[in-house]
Symmetry: D2
Subunit: 228 residues, 4 copies
């Protein structure tokens, strides 16, 4: 599996240079010990990974790289791009015409927000309200897109016309990141206080990387999903 | 002057720890030479700054800090946040209700985009089209905001309701950055190929920082606005 | 107090753009709330800092800057420079002749290392061994320096001649860093598993910054010195 | 070829996730264009890489990763570790006994330094002086190592005993870095003003990476070895 679809969006693992042995070898160089091969990991090596995770010796988790191709709504991308340790290249609405492709929530994801910042909880709304919300959002997206294409037809520059498009519009980007920065991303974005929509994406990222570095991510899981 | 207004937005220099002497002293420590005081800069010290700029010895330009408070449309903020060397905290549409505050272009800034990516040029549109564009954008913003407040009234969570809001909505953030990263930002965002809307902001940033490190920014200007 | 001496070395706080209010204001912008002034911090504001620290909302602690001038032995500087979030400029033994200035431990700091990596402990050695160690190190430094100056007199380039100098030689550098990166440095370098020699420096750094952002650093202390 | 030996040191390319197609694809996502496969690069794709390099659109060069295992003298490693965009794990003289392994220059690399900082030149010394320099450095290394092992035998902690060892001692580390940061490293460290000893290493790094991303590095070469 290399692609997970989320609504009309997706996360695709495009390439990886990653295995648990690289963590062990980065740590072993501290002792000038010889490198282990990926298929030669001993129980002691796995224990070393767990020790590094628990004691938050984070640097050995950096000698790897994952490249993703991602399609998300802009409001999700906006949160994603706040993670500064990593590389991004994104679709440009200055250079290209934005396609007619917008996020609309599932009815079951239309919810009310209860409580205060830092401790929000979310509660379901009535079926009527949920269905109506989906229809309203859909119609708003359509109207915005009509306005956009109308402005383009009038000759207005793409970079200005796009200003009427909602943050529900889909965008695409490449993201390249190492496992340590990835664990920081996952800690924050798979957390129950994260917005549900980015959580779906973060869960997908996790599903794609966990099998590539199984000892590392099992250890991360067992240590409370805290970034080392 | 600490604030520059741009439409309904602004750039405000909130605080600075910055002077030309810090550049000189960071370079002089390489030779174990004594520090100079800001009011004791000699011609040789100014020449040293120019040498560092020209030869792209960039690190001495990092021992300073500028903190800005900025209000921009989201489509401008999206470009701004791509600059990873620096610190950001932004308004959250998950935590707070978005105010009714949207970017609308000046009529004179409504233009057509001509040419290809990398070498676009922009040409004025007729007065009619320009006026009409402003009206259309204004109306689209209003409709989107009505949809947004309607969804909130139905009980929909802020984080979902905001998905209908256009990228013309204003946001606010704090940005803290050193002069070297700032010169990189200014090189890219005051450039004639940058979107006009972020150029207004980048020009404002430049107007605010240049007097604080006059020798540094004059040297940057004289060396073709290239990041050292 | 702006300078702490450590043997023949020192840490000097050269400049700061830092107060607790900047943390509060960076967090308050999320809610579009007005800024507070440094002398107007309420108990709620202090509680907010504590909340941010406890919940590891780290970015509001980045909108500040500390510039230090430091003199340490090279083996301490080597650990210091591993901290990548921050700016450094250092004395160059390629450009300048290294002065006759070397680290020699206090007799009471001459100790044996017991146990395994990750859980070393250190025990005192006899007075004789300690005194003898100090003499041996002193003599080794002197011999190395004589070799160095001898090579220079023979016409050998500084950058090559310096290769005989021990990592006990003193170096100087400027270091500019924000409070969040500083807390990471302090977590690791004031820790009991850190080398005693860098701990003296980290303790000095802490003594200099704590009064500048008292609420922040008291909160960091109360939350187990964990980086937010 | 994956390893280049330099004296008793080496650079080994341990792993790579890198090809020219990743540069093209990162740029093409701006236009929502489909990805190209590494073996399907057209002339237009190669031209795109050259355009990105020339116009300093640097981010597409970040979606790749190289992992190196390096053995260098400490005075070379000290310069290497100043490059903050990248990941390092190094041999620890706190945890392990330092082996008897020191840098000694080739006779032909013993030179005089002429001129001023920023425009040094280097001239050969007489055969006598060169031979004598090598002998003096060799003897100094041996004496220092004897002092070190003597201190260990007296029971002194490794972390303190190592303070007498010269910066000519060999160390080992893993280094993981992307092509953009690598080009910055190569620009500075293959430059004629860089210390000859790190230039040998930088040249080796270049020899190892150039065949992996041939279009990228040829373009870098043709554009004056300037970091995009």
């Amino acid at each position: 599996m290399t692609t997970v679809n989320i609504g009309q969006g997706f996360v695709r693992l495009d390439a990886a240079m990653a295995d648990d042995a690289s963590v062990v070898n980065a740590a072993r160089v501290s002792f000038a010990k010889n490198a282990v091969l990926p298929n030669q990991m001993s129980d002691a090596d796995k224990g070393l990974i767990n020790f590094l995770m628990r004691e938050k010796h984070g640097t050995p988790f950096e000698h790897n790289s994952f490249r993703f191709h991602v399609k998300t709504p802009v409001f999700v991308a906006r949160e994603w791009f706040r993670h500064r340790i990593g590389s991004f290249n994104e679709f440009s609405a200055r250079y290209s015409e934005v396609p007619n492709d917008f996020f609309v929530p599932d009815e079951r994801d239309v919810r009310a927000q209860v409580g205060k910042p830092g401790s929000y909880s979310f509660e379901p709304l009535s079926e009527n309200v949920s269905r109506s919300t989906v229809e309203i959002i859909n119609a708003a997206n359509e109207r915005a897109y009509e306005t956009y294409t109308g402005l383009l037809e009038m000759g207005v520059a793409k970079e200005l016309a796009r200003s009427v498009l909602p943050v529900s519009m889909y965008t695409q980007f490449y993201w390249t990141v190492n496992a340590r920065a990835l664990m920081n991303f996952l800690s924050l974005r798979t957390h129950e206080t994260a917005q549900r929509d980015i959580r779906f994406y973060a869960d997908a990222v996790y599903a794609l990387v966990a099998p590539v570095m199984p000892v590392t991510f099992e250890s991360w899981e067992n240590n409370g999903r805290v970034t080392p």
